[in-house]
Each structure stands twice: as structure tokens, then as C-alpha cells.
Symmetry: C2
Subunit: 331 residues, 2 copies
Amino acid sequence: MVSSKDVAKRAGVSQSTVSRVLNASNQVSKTNAEKVTKAMKELNYRPNAIARSLVSKQTKTLALISGPLHNPFFVETTTSIINYANEKGYKTNVFFENAGDNMAVYESVLSMQLDGIILSSIFMEDPIYEELKALNLPFVMFNRKHNKPGHFVEIDNRKAGKLAADHFLELGHKRIGFIGGPLYTSTFHGRCEGFIVKLKEHLSLDDALIHETDTSEKEIREAVLKMMGQKHKPTAIFAATDSIAILAIDVLKELGYDIPDDISICGMDNVRLARHHSFELTTIGQKTEQNLGRLGIEYLIDMLEGNIQEDTPVEVTLEPILYQRKTTCAI
Amino acid sequence: MVSSKDVAKRAGVSQSTVSRVLNASNQVSKTNAEKVTKAMKELNYRPNAIARSLVSKQTKTLALISGPLHNPFFVETTTSIINYANEKGYKTNVFFENAGDNMAVYESVLSMQLDGIILSSIFMEDPIYEELKALNLPFVMFNRKHNKPGHFVEIDNRKAGKLAADHFLELGHKRIGFIGGPLYTSTFHGRCEGFIVKLKEHLSLDDALIHETDTSEKEIREAVLKMMGQKHKPTAIFAATDSIAILAIDVLKELGYDIPDDISICGMDNVRLARHHSFELTTIGQKTEQNLGRLGIEYLIDMLEGNIQEDTPVEVTLEPILYQRKTTCAI
DNA sequence: TCGGGTTTTGAATACGTATTCAAAGTAACG
DNA sequence: CGTTACTTTGAATACGTATTCAAAACCCGA
């Protein structure tokens, strides 16, 4: 490992001088600067980022704690986050939330030296909130949020649920199912609540059609099987994410249903795949092109760079709209 | 920031002793160990990973340089890699290859302090190879590989191309297209070559049906449009990845084609999505359940932990097999 | 109680960089 | 040439931990 000392020796200057040319401080004489640059090249010197961090207290590293990538929503946010962070000179350590036990992940994150955290994996009452606060690092939640105040970027989930309900009601559906969860996350909680509230304004609700699940293929599958196995089947389903909708469609097709002729289905998130001609999934999303991850990372980095005071809360709730495509139709 | 010195002071011992209880060396008296543990808790002490790394020369951090996540193949490998690395106590810094200019990414990677690198983004003649070698870190290539020797995990791409050709030939197809590229990557190079070699054994080849592209939606779209716009259209297409196949299907459906009645299509990688009832994509993959990313990261970590000598080359080439589903049929 | 051996301890140092501070050098000006 | 002001330099130190080494404490048998 070649260090700044080695460079210094070779260039015939002190280590301080080497450090100074590294940091582009223009207080080095031209001749010395050249000598140092030359020596660096000859030795193929690369500054040790670890040592730098130790003194600068900056790691230029962020942690992303994301939902799983088999959900296309997180494919898009992860891509945006990593690429934007990179553009701004930050590295991203990625972690995936772990259905059973997030503590291992959090333990790992908490013990790292980081400049900031962006996460989607928080629950409304998550005790991790306090620990994150205690770290005294900027952190922003995207998609989901915690009940306590903090920086977040979300979509108006309640309103989204209502939109879905409205859509189905307008199409004349009477038996409408819901699949999604867990409900202790702000996303599913809001979507479910808004959906149910709206339905109840016009129909009497059949509890057998409301399926709280997690996001695993297994549970979605089970929910669809149960729902369609009933004597009185639904004619429409609101899947609380596109990921769930796509899994549900897989099962429905396996069972021989035609969509939307036999059953309408509406997702949420407006992921790229929803537009594919093999799906043309009706869904709910925001108007803006930039996804929630991108918005979140922009705010986080703004905070790190001092463009936003950290004590002014970032609380962004986007307006949802319906993207009507071909998986829903009138009854 | 509470340091080991603070803990030492509070516990009434020296910093050395604190360090010793941290590293579970059992050469600390019980009474002192307890005092220190107590002080740590009271102060909510977390060891500074940066400082640790500076002396230990280990960062427990890996870099993953991956293809883009809109390719479902990389969704699966990225998930496997990150999760497995985490299990083994390694953090993963993720980078995505950048169509235009990978140098920014590499520059970032090369300047980090890392324990190892796993990457899919290398070209057969990529000059980055030498720089990676020079870092003197273990690195393994998965999916793609370089022409020069190094650790890699791949599938037999040439054989895969032949399999695809065989499949179409058996089904009686005569005009068979190819979409994929760039051909300076080992994957596309092998697949294309094997495919063409096999075809030529039985047919005269129409160059207008061989489309070298990159992996962008734009180019795939263009290739499909061009191919199907011809006077003599193909009756079958080998898309060199499932990702390309799925994009191609999108365009084909948009153009009104039924699959496989109007045109057969075969992908490669056997990604999860290929099994979806909205695709049921015929494709080529390996037999083993574990994906290439998972295999690669296992080898990498084995090397880091000394379970494999770094100088014994890891060169894994998996056997491809055809997964016949419903996007290909006899003509 | 003493001596030898073993365990436990803390002072000192190293890791590679940034930064402070005082000294040395240089330029400008009268 | 002397003075002042400014630029450039290197020695020393700090960052937070692990580790070495020698000293201290302890244990045990004689």
C-alpha cells in the first residue's frame, strides 16, 4: 500500500504538502505541486478513503434499506437512488428488509459509519425509529413512514384507496375484494382504510373479501385462492401494490380466469411493467415522472450538503391519480 | 461521539482493556470485563468501524458492479448477492454499469477501500481488467467474463445458443432471427456465435435477421420493428436474454402479433418472470436453483475467508438446458 | 515468605490522512 | 537594504481503534 508519506518521500516534500495538493488547496507552489503529482502517478497512488474518513468524519456513504426487489417498485427506486447518489459522489450500501427479523439488518446499519440513511422499510410504530433518531444522522423515509415526525416522501395512500374504490364503483361492481398488507405499514394501512371507507359509503362490506396479507408470493396466492373459492366471488380486486396485482394475475390465469372479463383488477404504484402489453394493468400512481426513491434521495443529499436545514421537516405527500388500462372493465 | 477512551475512563480502565473486551479476547479479568460492558451500555457505545478498518485493513465491504435492474436477471443476482454477503457479515456497495461511461463507476470503486469485488459488467477485452488486477483484491466475474484468466461463474453461452437454434430447427422454423448484444461481451458473443454456427449447419443464413443491439429498450424496439417490417419476416426469434425477450414481446403485441401463433420467441436466463402466466416464456437456463450471482458471491467470500486459495482459479461454466414453455411452437 | 510462572494491565505506537501552528521563504515597497 | 505582508512549508498532532511490550498483579507450591 503506497501512502502519502511514500509520495512525499519520492517528491522530496513533506506529507502535509502531499495532502494539500490532494485537497486542491491552491496554497502549494507550482513546482512542488508538479513534483507531487508526478510522484503520485509514478507510484500509482490512491488516497486511502478510510483514513480520510477518520479525520473528516465524512464517509460519503449512505445506507439504503429497501423493500425486496421482486417488487418492481423497489427496482425502480433502488436504481434511482443508487444512480443519483453516485452522481453526487455518494456510495450506497444496500440492505433488504427481512420479513422475519429486521434487527440484524438494523444492527448492521447502526454500527456503520454513515452520512445518511434512506429507507422504505419502516413500520408505523417501528421501535427502530428511536434508534435512528439517536444516531443523529439525517434519515429520510420514502414510500412508508413512521407515525412520529420525520422526513418522508409518500403518496397519499388514503386518497389512493378511495380512487380505487371509486373506479370500481363507477364501473358498477358490487363485490370488490382487497389484497394487501401488512396493515401496520403506512402504505397498506392508508390504502386499505381509504378503500374501505369509500366502499362503505355505497355498499355493505363483506369482510370475507378483505384479505390482509404480507407481500410474499405464498400469502398472495393463498388470498387469491381463498377469495375465488368462495360461493360469492368478487368481480373486482384492488391489489394494494402492482407487485401484488401481478402475482394475483398469475394465480388468476392459472385458475383459468380471463382479465378483465371474468374479474377486474387494479394495482397501485404504476410500475414500468404495468404498462407492458402482456399486462396493461390499471393502476394508481403519482403524476410526476420521478419516483419516490428519487425524490427521497434528493432531499437526503440536499440535507447532507446543507441545501436544506435539517430541522425544517421534509414532508411530501404526492397526489395520486388513476391510470386506467385494460385490467378493469364495467360489469 | 463516544469513543473507547470515554468508555475506558468511565470504567476506570485503560483504552487497551476496552479494546480487548470488544474483541472478545478472554484475557480480561471478569471484574474489569463487567465494568467495561456496563460502561459501554451506559454510554451507548458503538465501536467506530472506520477506525477499526484503518488498523485491521479489513472493511468487511464488497463492491457489486451490476447490470441494470430493469433486467430481471440482475434483480435476482443482486438480491442473492446482497443477502448472502449480509449473512456472512459483509456490506455491499452497489454500482450499476453505465452504458456510456463506466469509468466514473470504476474510478469510484477503485478509490474505495474494499475487501473484494463482484461484477457482471465486464467486457471481453475490457481495459479495466488490468486495473482490477492491480488492486490486488479478489474479484470474481459472474455472467460475463474477461478474455484473460480470472475467477468467473458463467453459463455455457455457446452451447446455449446452439440449444436455441436446435429448438427452432426441430420445430421446423426456417427464418429465425437473433436479437442481442453488444457482442463484445462474453455472454452475447457466445450465444450469438453458438446460435449462428448451429443454424448454418442446416440453413443458409439471412444477415438481415441478425440484429446486434445493446440492451436498451430503444434498440430492442428498433430491432423488432426492423425485423418485422421486412418483406420476408422471421417466424421465430432468439432473444439473447429474457429481458430482451420480454421487451420484444411488448413490441410484438403492440404490433398485433400473437405469440407463438404468429411468431415464436425464445429467451435466455430463465428469470422468475418468464414463468408468469402472462408470459410462459420458453427460455434457456441452468439446472441449478442457485443463480450465478449467488454462486459468484459464495466463491468470493470463500476466498476472503481463506476457504479457497486465491491462486487456484475458480472457473465455473454451467450446463444450459432448455425450458420449453408456451412462446414457441412448430410452424 | 519467597520465587517462579502465569495472567492481567496500561503506556506507547501504528494505521493514513487532514489540519494547525510556527517557521521559513518570497514579494513588494520605500 | 530593511520592513511589512503574504505565501509556502514541515513538524506535530488528532481522528478511534488494535496491538506490542514491559510492568504489575496474582497464584501456587515450597
